[in-house]
């Protein structure tokens, strides 16, 4: 009995009308399409990408704050959490371990979030101005769970990481990420659902709040 794989591919070849000798040409065509990947039509933006990113992020019900330097991040996180009454306990991604968290007065654990961590603080690989979206890549320094399990997610966004669109972010990723991350997550505001009567409710399974701290 032939395998399901051979069976399915065989049927496809038959339907496509491919001669066995034609396959190398098709393989080459496919290889070329990938190697010469090109962007489709995309909206263009005049002006400041960061301003566009902030405007779009707010439209997705993220909240936005800004600070001048990385050194300001722990204190800014602490003051925002206090102002919102969200406590002091946070889990911070290892990529941000170099900041001086001790001085912030927060109860900080560096590592990956567990199911009961109330606040997760992460960096971000790139941020997409077109839609106000974060691009987070998983890795030893950046666990995917920190932006997923806690009810509050704070993302630290270096201003120079804001790019126009997904294509621009993918171009950077292709060049700088090796190996390719297990999970690339695009996050656009708090988790939501509209399954019941098409009424939008925040905090379906992921965070109820996404707070962006733009640095620089």
């Amino acid at each position: 009995m032939s395998s399901a794989r051979d069976d399915i591919l065989g049927r496809l070849r038959q339907r496509i009308g491919r001669e066995p000798v034609g396959t190398p040409a098709a393989r080459e065509r496919v290889g070329q399409v990938i190697a010469a990947s090109r962007a489709g039509p995309r909206p263009s933006y005049d002006g400041d990408l960061a301003a566009r990113f902030i405007e779009r992020a707010k439209a997705l019900i993220s909240t936005v704050d800004a600070c001048a330097a990385p050194a300001d991040v722990p204190a800014r996180c602490a003051s925002w959490l206090t102002s919102q009454g969200l406590g002091r306990r946070v889990v911070v991604s290892p990529s941000l371990a170099g900041l001086d968290w001790a001085a912030s007065g927060l109860d900080v654990r560096i590592g990956a979030a567990a199911g009961d961590d109330p606040v997760g603080i992460t960096g971000c690989f790139r941020a997409i101005a077109e839609t106000g979206t974060l691009m987070l890549c998983s890795g030893a320094q950046s666990p995917a769970v920190n932006s997923l399990l806690p009810e509050t997610h704070i993302a630290v966004v270096p201003r120079e990481h804001i790019v126009a669109d997904m294509e621009a972010a993918f171009a950077v990723a292709r060049e700088t990420l090796d190996p390719w991350p297990r999970a690339v997550n695009f996050v656009s505001g708090p988790s939501r659902t509209a399954d019941i009567e098409q009424t939008i409710v925040l905090g379906a399974h992921g965070p109820y709040r996404v707070h962006l701290l733009i640095v620089g």
């Binding site: 098709a26 999970a183 905090g203």
Partner: protein, 471 residues
């Protein structure tokens, strides 16, 4: 899933008489269509994006065998295992084998329409493995005795919050709530321990990306992320037609999928998942599998219905379909409702099991206009109707009357006399009004609508008269 499309007419009748369902359908009617339209303005050139999206999907289908090979090679190189299934039953067997190999007791599931095609939940239960649906809508259906979804992206669009409230109170044993926020939190609290405890997660896949061997999952709730991050095994179950070439193509398709579906510029979460966790990763599954399901897809390649395989499952066609919005998704009797379902169900399940579906359309072409990948849905329904005629699947009365009509139409003098007779009869029925409310020879026709009264003189007679008058 067992097909019930052969009972279409009786199912429609029940649903038209179901006042609660009609109220629920009315509540959301047109809302997604309006949201879609409003969202298009944020693209400089929607038509160009649509043309590009169409081209991406069409070009893959032309070389689908080679794209699948390439996807398989990239996914395998990055540590995933790629398995193939000829049909739903084989897919279920493969998933159960994986579950047994990894000693899995509980599976958390993100939305997968292919798993609905395969009837995966029933197969898992029969094998002693507990499936838990985690999309809020799918969860509601599962705890309501495995009710089927009525919409591909809004599975419980046919339910009111009162019905959900009653269900939660009964199944969860909690106090009844009517606040949607509270109902959502109740489901979140029920499902959180399932995410943390399940040994395996099953997802569908919106796209398979050949460039990186990844699956792309688009969700709003975050359950897709949970199912593919927390359990130690992840299985992505998708159709073989889901491949796209590159990450740039994904970016293009993501401009058009959420807008067409719900009018969002982007869905909350788009996850690209590539292989199992890396050394040193704090999270992610230890094993990742792809199960690529044919289920009738390969047979559509190279034929009249190949364009249907471009479908990206956005639901725009049903959101704009006057028939779907009146009868609801359950009437269609299988996994896929609305125009795309009226084409897919006969193709995947057999023309004879879904005789009424290609007829369940006015061919108004709203679906064709809004389809983000330009599938000519009315043309495909018309082709299915032709196939039905060729296969002798139409009722004898229709076949007889068509043959009779053809016989008369080939005899102009007889035809002209027949028309004159018919006009006189119809005008007698109209009795001076411009419409006929009860048609004597075909009472069914006027049971729910009027028939327009014909003009006093037929076109042929007027034309002949003008010729005679020398005009």
């Amino acid at each position: 899933m067992e097909i019930r499309s052969m009972h279409f007419v009786s199912r429609v009748r029940q649903r038209l008489d179901d006042t609660e369902l009609q109220r629920n359908l009315q509540r959301t009617r047109g809302r997604n269509a309006a949201a879609r339209l409003a969202s298009l303005s944020s693209l400089d050139d929607f038509d160009a994006v649509r043309a590009r999206a169409t081209d991406i999907r069409a070009s893959v289908l032309r070389d689908l065998d080679v794209w699948l090979e390439r996807f398989e090679a990239e996914a395998t190189r990055r540590g995933a295992t790629v398995l193939w299934a000829r049909d739903g039953d084989e897919a279920c067997r493969l998933v159960i084998d994986i579950a047994r190999r990894h000693d899995v007791k509980t599976v958390v599931k993100a939305k997968s329409m292919v798993s609905e095609e395969a009837g995966l939940n029933a197969a898992l239960e029969a094998a002693g493995i507990r499936p838990v649906e985690t999309d809020l809508g799918e969860y509601i259906l599962q705890i309501n005795d495995n009710e089927p979804p009525s919409h591909i992206i809004m599975p419980v669009i046919h339910k009111s919050k009162e019905q959900v409230s009653e269900l939660f109170a009964r199944v969860h044993g909690t106090a009844a709530k009517t606040d949607i926020v509270e109902l959502t939190r109740e489901a979140r609290e029920k499902l959180r321990p399932e995410f943390l405890g399940a040994e395996m997660g099953i997802s569908g896949g919106n796209f398979l990306i050949a460039e990186t061997g990844s699956v792309a999952i688009v969700t709003n709730e975050g359950n897709g992320r949970m199912c593919t991050t927390m359990p130690r095994v992840h299985v992505a179950l998708t159709g073989i037609e889901k491949v796209i070439p590159t990450l740039d193509d994904l970016a293009t398709l993501l401009r058009i999928l959420p807008r067409s579906a719900t009018g969002q510029a982007i869905s909350n979460y788009v996850s690209l998942l590539t292989g199992p966790k890396h050394e040193g990763d704090a999270d992610g599954p230890e094993h990742m599998y792809f199960v690529l399901v044919d289920g009738g897809r390969a047979d559509l390649i190279g034929g009249d219905f190949e364009p249907m395989l471009r479908c990206i499952r956005c639901g725009a066609c049903m959101n704009h379909c006057p028939v779907y919005q009146t009868i609801g998704g359950h009437s269609y009797g299988w996994v896929y409702p609305g125009p795309m379902g009226s084409v897919l169900t006969p193709l995947y399940q057999g023309l004879e099991k879904a005789k009424d579906l290609p007829q369940a359309a006015t061919l108004c072409n709203q679906c064709g206009v809004v389809c983000p990948v330009s599938i000519p849905l009315p043309d495909l329904m018309r082709k299915l109707r032709e196939k039905q005629v060729d296969a002798g699947l139409r009722p004898w009365s229709e076949r007889l009357s068509m043959r009779l009509w053809a016989w008369v139409a080939q005899r102009p003098a007889l035809y002209a006399r027949g028309v004159r007779l018919a006009v006189r009869y119809l005008r007698w029925l109209a009795d001076g009004r411009d419409r006929i409310q009860a048609m004597g020879v075909a009472p069914g026709w006027t049971a729910e609508r009027d028939f327009p009264a014909p003009a006093a003189q037929s076109f042929r007679d007027r034309y002949a008269a003008r010729r005679r008058a020398g005009r």
